[in-house]
């Protein structure tokens, strides 16, 4: 059973062919590093999977069932979570509040539902423990490091029992030490059987964490192979076009 399967997915914006005929298979727990030059179509592919864009052609399968997403919420319900670097976190709230944002736990006081802070804090604490992250549920996100912020975003994915986590350039704007933290988090997700699609320009990060490397060039998937059977040199060649196909 595959976690996610794309069959001949294309997406064009008017005359621009952002994606042409992309077919890709991702197993549960697999970490796939998606690489490519600027404008190669990586973000577009992520957005198609996340339900932001409907594909112009092609089919998407999740756990072998065909799906059609009309909005991001559809994808979320199907078990797809997107981790945005900064977009999806509220600095003014605590880590636990962010993990539960939009799906807060409540308890009834008479007819009135009130927030169940205690339960949310404990649940969030458990999730951070599972991610082996130092993040404390009550701390304000404002005072957190980039790595801890990622942990908050990723804990959201765990909370919703996501099958697939999409990460578009999670390590673009953070320090080296924090990159290591994020890569650890990705490994942890994979250990829990969650498939991860990691978009990154940083070759060492991708090789450190990915099982499979997929390369997009001008909207076409020109490679999808085991990281162990590839090398940074080969991937660079694929990205630039020096190597046609692999």
């Amino acid at each position: 059973m595959s976690a996610l399967r794309l069959e001949a997915v294309s997406k064009h914006f008017g005359a621009i062919h952002a994606l042409s005929d992309v077919s890709l298979l991702i197993e549960p727990g697999e970490v796939i590093g998606l690489m490519g030059d600027n404008g190669a179509g990586k973000s577009t592919l992520v957005k198609v999977i996340a339900g932001n864009f409907a594909p112009s052609a092609g089919e998407i399968f999740i756990s072998d069932t065909k799906v059609e997403f009309h909005k991001p919420l559809d994808a979320q319900r199907a078990g797809i979570e997107v981790v945005y670097q900064d977009l999806a976190i509220c600095d003014n709230l605590s880590a636990a509040a962010n993990v539960f944002l939009g799906r807060e736990l409540t308890k009834q006081i008479g007819p009135i539902p009130i927030l169940d802070y205690a339960r949310m804090r404990i649940r969030a604490g458990e999730l951070f423990a599972r991610l082996k992250s130092e993040t404390r549920p009550r701390d304000l996100v404002k005072r957190m490091s980039g790595g801890q912020r990622q942990a908050v975003a990723i804990a959201r994915a765990l909370l919703s029992d996501a099958k697939i986590v999409l990460m578009d350039e999670p390590t673009a704007a953070i320090s080296v030490r924090q990159v290591a933290e994020v890569l650890n988090l990705i490994r942890n997700l994979s250990d829990h059987g969650i498939a991860v699609v990691l978009v990154s320009h940083r070759m060492p990060d991708v090789f450190q964490v990915a099982d499979t490397i997929a390369v997009l060039r001008r909207g076409r998937l020109v490679a999808s192979k085991r990281a162990a059977n590839s090398s940074p040199e080969e991937v660079t060649g694929l990205i630039t076009g020096a190597i046609e196909f692999a």
């Binding site: 991001p72 919420l73 979320q76 997107v82 945005y84 977009l87 999806a88 976190i89 509220c90 600095d91 003014n92 709230l93 509040a97 944002l101 939009g102 799906r103 807060e104 409540t106 009135i112 539902p113 009130i114 927030l115 804090r121 404990i122 604490g125 458990e126 951070f128 423990a129 599972r130 082996k132 130092e134 404390r136 549920p137 009550r138 959201r156």
Partner: protein, 343 residues
């Protein structure tokens, strides 16, 4: 990195919660003094003490009664304003919501309608005004500043049309009831003050304990994040402006009873005092921060200062200068603090 190893050895929920508990206890005093609200409260208390010593008019029953009533009016609306500001918006139309709601109740009751029709109608008009603000901000995507500035003008103009710009001081069969509501007192405390306390408690509860409150602060902190997590930000925005207008509407109804009559300049310029109260009380104009208690304390400080100007014989022309400077100082204070935190 070494303590990460320690942590993973004891990943049970209990030990984790313990660890969290310990790290959180920085001591009551340290936490208290870290809050702007605390210092504003201290300032208000000190001002009261100073006034009691410096003048023999401040601590009189009559003056205190007046101060607490005026303070209640500003504080009630500051609660609504805090919600708007914390959600990332601003509402300049509250003064007009006040006059429109009081004019509605006045016109209806002077035409012979009973109390129980006049007041709900006045509140409904205020809610409608807030809903128009909210829809224009949320669905038409217009800046709150522009929408509510327009409403500031429209609302007052409608009140003039409604009353033909005349003063109304006869309220039909339920005249006494209306006057008693806003002007009377219960157990020695002026009614508006009691209403304010109840509304502050409700607002505090809504902010802290409901999903509405949580979502409101999330939206003020990062609107696109709130949207991405599926929070219905548009409906939420409408509800926030309705809430603000409703607090203004309640104030309008109470003010009629207190004043015993309504003119179309009621509530003029009130938005400034209210915004000042909210901001002094810790609401952040950039959104995401604010408390109900802060709004009340901010309103208290403003009213005490205003009263002191009068009692100390300083010309009332200076009031605007004080209120205006207060807003600027409070915002500057906030800027200074956040710059220091980042640096």
């Amino acid at each position: 990195m070494s303590n990460q190893g320690n942590r993973t050895l004891t990943p049970t929920a209990n030990s984790l919660a313990d660890a969290i508990g310990h790290s959180e206890h920085r001591g009551m005093l340290a936490r208290l003094t870290n809050h702007q609200t605390f210092w504003v409260f201290m300032a208000a208390v000190l001002a009261c003490l100073a006034l009691s010593l410096l003048t023999d008019t401040f601590a009189t029953e009559r003056n205190l009664f007046n101060v607490s009533r005026n303070f209640a009016f500003v504080a009630i609306i500051a609660l609504g304003m805090t919600a708007v500001i914390a959600s990332g918006g601003i509402d300049l139309s509250v003064g007009s919501a006040v006059v429109l709601s009081s004019m509605t109740v006045a016109v209806l009751m002077s035409a012979g309608m009973p109390f129980w029709i006049g007041i709900p109608a006045a509140l409904a008009v205020a809610i409608l005004l807030g809903a128009v603000n909210g829809v224009l901000v949320a669905y038409a995507g217009m800046p709150p500043f522009v929408v509510t500035l327009g409403m500031l003008s429209v609302g007052r103009s409608l009140a003039m049309v409604l009353s033909n710009n005349k003063m109304i001081y006869q309220f039909g069969p339920d005249h006494e009831l209306l006057l008693a509501l806003g002007g009377g007192s219960t157990m020695g405390l002026p009614n508006p003050l009691l209403v304010m306390v109840v509304l502050a408690a409700i607002t505090g509860f809504l902010f802290k304990w409901t999903r509405w409150g949580q979502h409101l602060f999330a939206m003020g902190g990062n609107e696109s994040a709130a949207k991405l997590t599926g929070i219905p930000v548009r409906q939420l925005k409408v509800s926030v402006y309705v809430f603000s207008a409703l607090t203004a509407g309640i104030t309008g109804v109470l003010e009629v009873g207190w004043l015993g009559g309504v003119t179309t300049n009621l509530g003029q310029g009130m938005e400034l005092a209210v915004i000042a109260a909210a901001v002094i009380g810790g609401a952040n104009l950039a959104g995401g921060v604010g408390t109900a208690f802060g709004a009340v304390v901010g309103a208290l400080l403003i009213e005490v200062i205003r009263n002191s100007l009068i009692l100390l014989g300083i010309s009332t022309f200076w009031q605007g200068a004080f209120v205006g400077s207060f807003i600027v100082i409070a915002v500057a204070f906030d800027r200074f603090r956040s710059v220091r935190q980042q640096g």
